[in-house]
Symmetry: C2
Subunit: 337 residues, 2 copies
DNA sequence: GTGAAAGCGCTAACAG
DNA sequence: CTGTTAGCGCTTTCAC
């Protein structure tokens, strides 16, 4: 480990000067600058990020809280977030809360403001109070990909119009002539996917159709749960010609269930999801879905977080991503006549 | 941000004492201890991790270098690694090199030894020289899930017997009666998957069968490339009854290709992969594969890294994971007679 | 047992 | 332009 003062000694200057050279502060004579640079090169000096952060009064990283990076949706977000963080000279710490509030709190307590300057929150099962508390301690918090709220949000957030995403899915299915549609919602009734379902419902109502509540299953946001939910739905209501899933994972499970029932997607039953994760286009048939701008949401999240860190803006800001968009692939088709 | 000395002042002691209390150093009188604890509680004090690391002369995190966390294999590894790191009081920084050596080097230069005490290397397209250099600067490096080498490794590593994994896959296919087998290898001929292919080849040779080299395609390690490779193979050699893929991603692609050719897996063509990623059991049909102990490899990697950090052991150590194991699912079946 | 003091490696005024 | 002086918040001898 070679330090600043070692470089300084070799270059015959003081560490302050070396620091100035390295930080491009100007105000250093060309000859000394060159000498310093030579010494840096010779010694292979690299700044000590931890020390620098401490001296600068900031933390060296940003944190991303997710319930589990193994959920196929998060890596895509994390990748984009890391890139954006790097572009701003920051490193990203990924914190898996495992959906456990205690773990999440422990993370917040330990790193917010000390190891991380700010925290990105991706569904991590943390209470607003906990988040507000860490915010008050000086570590800004940004809610990533939250539902676009009616009222001003309680915390800074990047909002996605999931309600509209649900509506888009419903409209697509209806445009194909589907009337008997089953809904597989990947959360509790009032959970995280509720707005998507509401959007779906609203679109159907707007079209003068009613979706019977018994044609809906509230399940976990997994392939397996989507499988089970669809299985139950299709067994109870064989007349269903389409499945609306509130997320791609359950949608993929729905396709499996339909296949296991000896039916064909999309000839017998159409399936649509929401998000457009990587696997949506890799499945057979490729999944029709409503794409949500994941990467740009990640970038926006980082940018909002950094602006909060720098200006410590007190008012909760909200930024809305571009609108969800239909990605028509092979899992939806006109209803059989 | 409340600091140690603020706590000290409130408790009517000095910061050294507070530190002693917090670090459970003993040697503090019970009454003072209680007073300090009360002050900590009252002020909501939390140690400043960055400052602590600097004072202790260590870095506050560990780093994991991967080419891209969006590759479906890595999140599972990263999750396990993060858990293991947490269990040892460390935080994990995920570094996406995007397969670019320059990016990887930049990461090493910046964080190794300054922000991270050590680095886990998961296929990140970094040269051994670069890694040795960072090791010499005092930041231990561990190669994760490397091929089990014949010679002692140049760097500490967690080795997996991928050669055996390939052999297991071959034996399984042969046991089902397959003789006409196509191989789709997810790397260059001498690339990262070479040992798996060698293992496959060796097992076939041992069984007195020869695998014609023209029945092999070297492709990228992706679903799409596996699709293309299988497509080409099957069009050229319709007599093939099975596909050996060196990884699950190309294996999944192989299944898609077979389906698009109007054939059935496994009735017409069997498919086997290696790794057992999450999606292997979710595909339709579920993929038969040779499971590699990902999670335990991650734990072993963290443990080896930490032991290197603590004892700075100079000799490259190698630890071998448990053996790969066949996971028989629905994508393989006896050859049609 | 507790306090005083030095220092981790760096940055940021301020002097000269 | 360059050096001096203070810290950042914490840990760690070493006295008392």
């Amino acid at each position: 480990m070679t330090t600043l003062s070692e470089v300084a000694r070799l270059a015959g200057v003081t560490s302050a000067t070396v620091s100035n050279v390295l930080r491009q502060r100007g105000k250093v004579g060309e000859p000394t600058r060159l000498r310093v640079l030579a010494a840096v090169e010779q010694l292979g000096y690299r700044p000590h990020l931890t020390a620098r952060a401490l001296a600068e009064g900031r933390a060296p990283t940003l944190a991303l809280m997710v319930s589990s990076i193994a959920n196929p949706f998060y890596p895509e977000f994390a990748l984009a977030a890391e890139r954006a963080a790097r572009a701003h000279g920051r490193f990203l710490i990924v914190c898996n809360t495992n959906d456990d509030p205690a773990t999440g709190r422990a993370y917040l307590d330990q790193i917010a403001g000390t190891l991380s300057d700010g925290v990105l929150i991706m569904n991590a099962n943390l209470s607003i109070e906990d988040l507000k508390k860490t915010e008050q301690r000086g570590a800004p918090v940004v809610l990533c990909m939250w539902e676009k709220p009616d009222a001003p949000p309680e915390l800074p957030c990047i909002a996605v119009d999931f309600h509209e995403a649900g509506a888009i899915a419903a409209r697509h299915l209806m445009a194909l002539g589907h009337r008997q549609i089953g809904a597989v919602v990947g959360s509790k009734k009032d959970g995280i996917h509720a707005p998507r379902y509401q959007g779906y419902l609203a679109a159907r109502t707007d079209a003068g159709q009613k979706h019977p509540h018994y044609c809906t299953r509230f399940v976990d946001d997994t392939v397996e749960a989507g499988y089970d939910g669809t299985m139950a739905l299709l067994k109870a209501y064989p007349q269903l010609t389409a499945i609306f899933a509130s997320n791609d994972l359950p949608a993929l499970g729905a396709m499996n269930a339909i296949a296991d029932l000896g039916l064909q997607v999309p000839q017998d039953v159409s399936v649509i999801g929401i998000t457009d994760i990587q696997w949506a286009r890799l499945s057979r048939p490729a999944l029709t879905t409503v794409a949500v701008p994941t990467a740009s949401a990640a970038e926006m999240s980082i940018e909002l977080l950094l602006s909060l860190i720098h200006r410590s803006s007190p008012t909760p800001t909200m930024r809305v991503t571009a609108n969800p968009q239909l990605v028509q692939r092979a899992s939806t088709a006109p209803v059989k006549t």
